[in-house]
Each structure stands twice: as C-alpha cells, then as structure tokens.
Symmetry: C2
Subunit: 337 residues, 2 copies
C-alpha cells in the first residue's frame, strides 16, 4: 500500500508549535530520508523560517491542496485542524501520522507506540494515530512488565509539564515565574490557573463521572494499544510547574507476585526505557533529566507494602519527544522500513 | 494532671524556623492565653526578635534549664533536639507538644490530629506528638469518610512543597528559580537535586523495601492515629516546586460503595476541611489557594471507573499551618480546655 522510495516528501502540519519544532529536530537527528520538507502552519506564521540540514525552509500556509506529492504528513496542529485537513492529505495519497486526539479512538485508525504494537501500523487506511503523551510515557515502561506478568489494574497520578499545552504555555510558566519572583501578579492567558509555583488538576474538560479528558484518554488509549478492554485504569492528571517532561507515579496490580530484581533486569533491557533507580543515593527519575532524552526514565521500583501482587514505579519522560514528536517519527521509520 | 490556669507560660523551641515562626502567628491569631512567651533557638539566632501582640520578644538560647516555670512547650527544632531537650522540659513540669518525628511512634506518646483523635491527648505522660505534615493533610479529609464507610486501603501520591524542608529550602526554591530564569546554573544546598522547575522523589532516606522515611511515616502514623493496624497504605512521596502547601492524589478502597453526593455533604460539614470541587469550572484544590488557610481543601471527588468501592480525591493543605503549627496549637487548646 505504501510505496517504498529512497527518499520521501514529508509535510509537518503545525510546524511552528512546540511539537512541530521538535519533529524537525528529530527528523534531522535521526537522518530520516527526507526529499522535500514542507512546513505547514496557519497564515499567521507565514514568513517564519526553520533550518533543516543547513537549508532554510519557509513556512507555508496550510491549505486543502497543500499535500500534492507528499508521502508522509506529521500532523500536530490540533484536533480540529487534523479533522479538517487529514482527509485531503489521504486523498492526495499521503499517509498521515496524527499527533492529535482527532482519530485515536477511530476503529479504522491504528493507535501505535512502536515499542508496543508496531504490527498495528500495517492496518492503516491512510491515518495512523500517535497516542496522548501521558499514555505513551506510562506505557513504554509498563509494557515490558505486562509482557511477563499481566497488568490487571493501574493507578496513576501524573505530574505534567507545561509543554503539554504547547510553546505558549511554557512561556507562560516562565513569565509568571518572573512576575511572582518580582512580586508582581501572575498573568493568566493559556492556563485557567496560575502555573508558577502552583499545580492544578489537568485543564481539560471534565466529563462523565468527574474524570477529565486527559484521564479518559489514558484509560481508553491503553485499552486500545494493549488490545485489552479488561485492563482497569484509575488516573488522576495534574499540571505542575515544570517546563517539558511529564512524570507519573504508577501502581500496578499484577497477575503474579513480582520479583523486583527481575523487573529491574527486564526494564534495563527494554527498548525506550532507562532504569534510574539508585536507592542509596536517593536518585530516581526527574523531569529535568528526562528533558531532551529519548528514553522514558523509570525508577522507585518497589513492592506494595500491603499486597503481594502490587508494584510501584515512578517515571519521567520528555513530553515533546517520546510523548509526541519522537513517537510519530518512529512510526514513520517503521512505515518506510 | 495538667493544672488549669487563666494564662500559660509557653515556650517555642525552634522559634526561628519556618514552623516556629508560624506557631507565633497562630498563637497570636487564635488569642491563645499566653502569659510569658519564651522563644528558644540555637545560639546562632541570639539577637533575633519577634513581635507578639505588639511586644518585641528576643530569642533565647535553648538550654537544659530553659524550661523553668514553662507550662507548654511547642517543639519544632528537629528530631535530635527534641530527643535531647524534651525530657528536661517534662522534668521541669511542662507538657511538650512535639512537632518532630522523635516520639511519634513511642507507645507512651499520643499522636494526635484534633479533628480525629482528641481523646488520645489525655493519655499523655508529658509529651504529645504532632503527626508528619503529609499524614495530617491526608487524614483530615479522609477521616470523615472513614467514619461512615471504613477505609480499607489508601493509595496516595504526594506533591510536597519546599516548606516541608524548612525556611532555607523555600529560599532555595526562590533562588534557584531566579538563577534558572537568568540562565545561570541552580545552586544546590538544602535539597539533593534541583527543585526549581523540577520535581524528585522525597529527599528522606530510603529504608526497607525501597520506601523512604516520609512514606513509612504516612503508613505507621495513620495506623496509630486511626487505632487500626490493618489499614493498608501505599504511598509515593514527591517534592514539587511549590512554596508552602502540600497536595495529595488519594485513592480510597472503601468497605461499601460510596455515594459521591453524600460524601460531598459529609466533607462539607467536617471540621478542618473545605470542599473545592467545581467540575464545570475545572476548579479544584490548589496549593496556592491552600497556602495560609487553616482548612485542608478537598475536591476531585469521584468514583473509581473500575471498582464500585473505590473513591478518588485530591487535597491541598498548608504544610506550615494544618500540617504543623496549627495542629500543634490546636492540641494545646484542647489541653487547656
């Protein structure tokens, strides 16, 4: 279905966003075989230029006819933009790897974390969805455990960075922090509440039963990626004043009693994961160290004090890289293999 | 055993620390019947003065003979200082309300949260212990639920502020934040890791099975305060870049299926608790709003999606007030009633 070439014409939709900019870096770093690179964004961003392998590339306005001759679209301009433009890209013959929530739960669209379900990529009908960042960062280290000792239930509380709400939210954290330190009131534009030196329940809409959209994504996406509608997930999502990596406190209820030494060994060999678990030095995953890294850091591996089948872990992963842009580029890499 | 008077001689041990300073404010605000106020600290703090009801009071050096004529000691100068000096205070006839971990698990010392087990105060033999801040902030909102629907198990992940490590840790967060915003490296003195725009596993020593001291306190103190050694607690404690209120994501496994409307009603009438739970406005407990407040804020009340007997909540409470100084002064108030 997907024609193999030596080089591909790639369009980045939402090229000027935090994830879009990260996609450019990752395509360059990983030497993705790009022939023509097209940077698409709204008319507001016309005139902006980005460097790619030494060449300056100007941003073009995203239009219905932007996809002529494009092989792969990496989309990260928001759900409504993907809903509107992905069909035109598919009609023009491109494969869309969509980083928005627009198509994730569509039964015709595979939802893929390359370390977990790469085989699902081949079922695509023109669109492949990239999971939500919190889902990816949770599942990359949970899956290797799940493979050897089935995960029946997950309790997860997140510590999510500003980057999940885009580049402007990161600037808001920076500006509010400056204001607070100078004794000035913090100005709120992107987030509903002050993010500097504060934290708050994730700013997505609250749905049924009091869960917010971010939490419901973690539940439904995990079930889809694991092909397991029985796995139980109880999430609480929280924004913290950190720039760009998400952390998560995870509790797993397993089928069998876990052996911590064995789990550590499994994780140390798992793709996309780095074990950071030094009890003596009190050194565990931190968002500052996860930032800019491809691997999801995992540590604080310990048994539950009150249940023989429980396992606790703490993870930090770069929200813009593995949580978004890297995962999308990895999908593209498998597609062209 | 405790002689009732119209006014009491009160000593604050560790008067120049973050909790000590808060104790002064609270004694003043609540018009505690103080006759003589003695401010005790190490020799380093000699010369410092604090205002109390309009009078300037000089800090005195803490010595073995500092407790002559003192009725109540509010101690918050660290565990080893309490271990050393509390016996002298008791010998001098004072009652020590100890905010450190020194005596909390001593079977002869009651461990008290006034909203939960005030009756234990009367069992004292000269020392009454104030629980750890994370324990207090968790239990004040959990107890009213527990009273009507027994809590069998608690999963808790904390979001703990810098204030828990004292005034110097709060300044470290401030200074590191300034440095990072100015592009300078963050200097680490109090915390083992950068706290500005970062978070890390709680900086207490890691003990058996990989749990840190803060987590083990939450387990053992809860069992002692609830007089229930069977209650199961699985904690994960984390420091976040917030100045002075702790937040906690709490999951309760209850004996019976909870009714959310009824739980909300129970909590809205419970002492020491304020319900902040507006789903439509996405407005829930935040440390910024809990700071300076006596009540522990509680919200995000919702059923577990995967178990009929589960209940989720999110709380924020001022670590220096209800988590420490206020709880100690409340114990003193009951003592003199």
């Amino acid at each position: 279905m997907f024609k193999k070439k030596s080089k591909y014409n790639v369009a980045v939709m939402g090229a000027t966003g935090a994830v879009g900019e990260e996609m450019l870096k990752i395509l360059e770093e990983r030497r993705f075989p790009v022939d023509r690179l097209v940077l698409l964004a709204s008319a507001r961003s016309l005139g902006k230029k980005y460097s790619f392998h030494g060449k300056q590339i100007a941003v073009e306005e995203l239009k219905e006819n932007s996809f002529n001759g494009i092989d792969i679209v990496l989309a990260s301009a928001g759900g409504s933009i993907s809903k509107k433009f992905a069909p035109f890209a598919v009609k023009a013959g491109a494969i869309v790897i969509d980083n928005t929530s627009a198509y994730r739960m569509d039964p015709n669209v595979p939802l893929v974390i390359p370390e977990i379900n790469p085989e699902d990529i081949q079922k695509h009908k023109g669109i492949i969805a990239n999971p939500n960042c919190s889902t990816i960062i949770m599942l990359v280290p949970v899956y290797p455990i799940h493979k050897t000792n089935r995960v029946k239930r997950i309790f997860v509380s997140t510590y999510q960075s500003a980057s999940g709400a885009g580049a402007r939210a990161m600037r808001e954290l920076e500006e509010q922090s400056r204001d607070v330190l100078a004794g000035r009131p913090a100005k709120k534009e992107i987030f509903p509440h002050q993010i500097a030196f504060n934290l708050f329940s994730h700013n997505s809409a609250i749905k049924d039963e009091g869960y917010n959209e971010e939490e419901l994504k973690m539940v439904k996406e995990t079930q889809k990626i694991f092909h397991d509608t029985k796995i139980k997930i109880t999430p609480t999502t929280v924004r913290v004043p950190v720039f760009r990596a998400h952390s998560e406190s995870i509790y797993l209820e397993l089928e069998k009693t876990p052996d911590i030494a064995r789990i550590r060994k499994i994780l140390s060999k798992a793709p996309g994961v780095k074990v950071v678990d030094d009890r003596e030095k009190n050194y565990f995953p931190m968002p500052l160290e996860a930032s800019g890294q491809d691997d999801v850091l995992v540590g604080r591996l310990r048994k539950d004090l009150s249940s023989s089948k429980g396992l606790c872990l703490f993870v930090s992963g770069d929200q813009l890289r593995k949580g978004a842009a890297l995962n999308a580029v990895q999908i593209a890499e498998i597609l062209i293999q």
